[in-house]
């Protein structure tokens, strides 16, 4: 198998599975709402996200107003973009960092391998959310810190997968050939090893994206992520849950959006895992939550 044929067939195999189609549809719908919402919202409702649209808990409009008299629908439409951007950035950071460290550890072996993997063990001994809370307690709920901390805690989990896959291919003939013509290690890793471990890495991408969305939303829900008065789904759920009976939309809309989004990305991940495992049946286990710990 060479690099040019592996990736398209894996993707195509994954996308032909039913759960991939459902997952892709769900994800696309929520992403469209999140990306277009901030512009469509004010135009649709005539309100902005922080301004007062009426008295508290007014039921006019489509979803009424929240406890501060702000229009719930406008805030819902505006509230997904930051979450999505943070989650994507954190996933990208974790994937790149983890893949590089894992490949380096697996390919080099020896003390470098031990150093990287023991370092990962330390990070792996905190639940990700607790590690994020430790950092936020010291520095404060900054956006860059959320991305950094979630990305860094993803890295050792990705690194384990990357390392294992690298060890499996590092003595293949084409890599021994590359070593023989003294190709530098950096080039071997990026040109020879990386294209051959894209399968497991794509599964990791999906898995980490699902978790990133959950972590960013959870931290905002805890009041320690995205800060008011920004409209954000996680934060909205916390702000409006006291008034659940009076004005349910302020909680239901963001809860539904987050649920549909994470279910969507998880279905895509499952299809990738099934395709990578060479089976098409659903229900095969893909890496369990924190399975690498």
């Amino acid at each position: 198998m060479t690099a040019t044929t592996t990736q398209p067939t894996l993707l195509r195999r994954a996308l032909s599975l039913p759960q991939a189609k459902i997952g892709l549809t769900l994800t696309t719908v929520v992403v469209a709402v999140a990306v277009l919402g901030p512009w469509v919202g004010p135009w649709l409702t005539g309100h902005d996200t922080t301004g007062f649209a009426g008295k508290p808990f007014q039921s006019g409009g489509i979803a009424g107003t929240d406890g501060l008299g702000r229009d719930v629908l406008t805030r819902f439409l505006a509230g997904g973009l930051t979450l999505l951007v943070y989650a994507v950035l954190a996933t990208a950071l974790g994937l790149v960092l983890g893949a590089l460290l894992g490949m380096l550890a697996g390919y080099s072996g020896g003390w470098l391998d031990s150093l990287i993997m023991r370092g990962s063990d330390v990070l792996l001994s905190f639940p990700q959310l607790v590690f994020a809370l430790l950092a936020i307690a010291m520095i404060g709920p900054e956006g860059w810190l959320l991305v950094l901390v979630i990305g860094i805690t993803h890295a050792p989990r990705v690194a384990r997968v990357a390392r294992q896959s690298t060890v499996a291919v590092k003595d293949a003939d084409f890599i021994r050939a590359a070593r023989m013509y003294a190709m530098p290690r950096r080039r071997i890793l990026l040109r020879e090893v990386l294209p051959n471990i894209t399968g497991p890495l794509m599964v990791e991408l999906g898995l980490r994206l699902t978790y990133s969305i959950g972590y960013v939303a959870s931290l905002s829900f805890l009041g320690l992520g995205i800060q008011p008065p920004t409209a954000d789904w996680g934060l909205m759920i916390n702000e409006n849950r006291i008034a659940l009976v009076v004005e349910p939309w302020g909680v239901l809309l963001p809860v539904l959006a987050i649920a549909v989004l994470t279910v969507g990305t998880n279905l895509i991940t499952d299809s990738l895992a099934s395709a990578a495992a060479g089976t098409s049946k659903s229900g095969e286990p893909h890496p369990a939550k924190e399975a690498s710990a």
Partner: protein, 318 residues
């Protein structure tokens, strides 16, 4: 095998030590001067120096680390800046409350996951199997606060107002004096981890059911019930035990969000309060505690793995 286990134990101790280092170093990131923060802008340099001396802040970093670590070992976790009381006192009752949630969720999700996984494997390819697999895939994707809020919407407010959504323990009385308020927090945690156990059990059980010894047991005319309980399940549980332990370790972190959501008076909520108040010593104590639980449960998982699966022996030794 004992050497392997000892080695794994040594690694855990080393990791735990590195964790204490990390938790301590994190406090050095705190911006500003703690003494000035306590005394305010008008404080004279003499008073700041005196307070630094009293707090031990003028000692070198390594000495402060050793003092703190010594305190951890002797059960002195420092003073809470918010409550002005000892951290141990603050955490004492809360640890028990959190344990109730953890143990409750652990027992229910383990039993439920094993049963669902087995049932699903026995009816492979049928409607039950597809429903269980599909549902577990969906629930596994949801963040715990989404599950919790959904449960509140359905079981506490609108459709069936059965259970309280907020824990209101009278002061001085343990939370379990009113078991009904434990239902939703435990149910949330259970739903978070059960899908993983179910999926793993289904996969292992399917494999075991296709094996020669199960076929043999059937061929010699044993009743199906005996085939399942005596021959199939014991072989499937070994590999699943590790996944269960990993999920239980994960609960130690998941409890934070769930306690905040239900205003449950455990260590998770104390952690959120401490982060909000920048109550450093409480944050240190709780993160260390959670990391400790996490490391110990993972250690047990690996030891179970070593003892039940000969193939794992080489891998864990690495």
């Amino acid at each position: 095998m004992f050497r392997l286990i000892l080695r794994r134990l040594a690694i855990s101790v080393a990791v735990l030590w590195l964790v204490t280092l990390l938790v301590f170093v994190a406090t050095l990131l705190l911006p500003g001067d703690p003494a000035r923060a306590i005394l305010g802008q008008q404080a004279t340099p003499e008073r700041i120096a005196a307070l630094n001396d009293q707090l031990g802040l003028d000692a070198p970093v390594w000495q402060r680390y050793l003092d703190w670590l010594g305190g951890v070992f002797t059960g002195d976790l420092g003073t809470s800046a918010a409550s002005q009381g000892p951290v141990t006192e603050l955490l004492g009752g809360r640890i028990g409350a959190s344990l109730v949630l953890l143990v409750g969720a652990a027992v229910i999700s383990t039993a439920g996951g094993l049963a669902l996984g087995t049932w699903s494997a026995l009816r492979r390819g049928r409607a039950v199997d597809h429903t269980v697999s599909g549902l577990s895939l969906v629930v596994a994707a949801l963040p715990e606060f989404v599950i919790g809020v959904a449960l509140i919407v359905v079981l506490s407010t609108t459709v069936l107002p059965l259970f309280p959504s907020v824990t209101l323990a009278p002061p001085g009385e343990p939370v379990w004096s009113q078991p009904i308020q434990l239902v939703l927090p435990i149910l949330t945690l259970t739903l978070v981890v059960t899908p993983y156990i179910t999926r793993m059990m289904r996969a292992t059980m399917s494999e075991v059911l296709d094996s020669g010894y199960v076929e043999m047991a059937r061929l010699k005319g044993l009743p199906e019930r005996v085939v399942i309980t005596r021959h199939a399940v014991p072989h499937a549980i070994g590999p699943v035990a590790q996944v269960i332990a990993i999920q239980l370790a994960w609960l130690a972190g998941g409890v934070v969000v769930v306690e905040f959501l239900f205003r449950y008076p455990g260590i998770g909520q104390a952690l959120i309060d401490a982060v909000n108040n920048r109550d450093v010593e409480v944050v240190q104590a709780i993160t260390l505690l959670i990391a400790g639980v996490y490391i110990v449960v993972n250690l047990i998982a690996d030891i179970v793995g070593i003892m039940t699966n000969p193939k794992l022996r080489a891998e864990v030794a690495r």
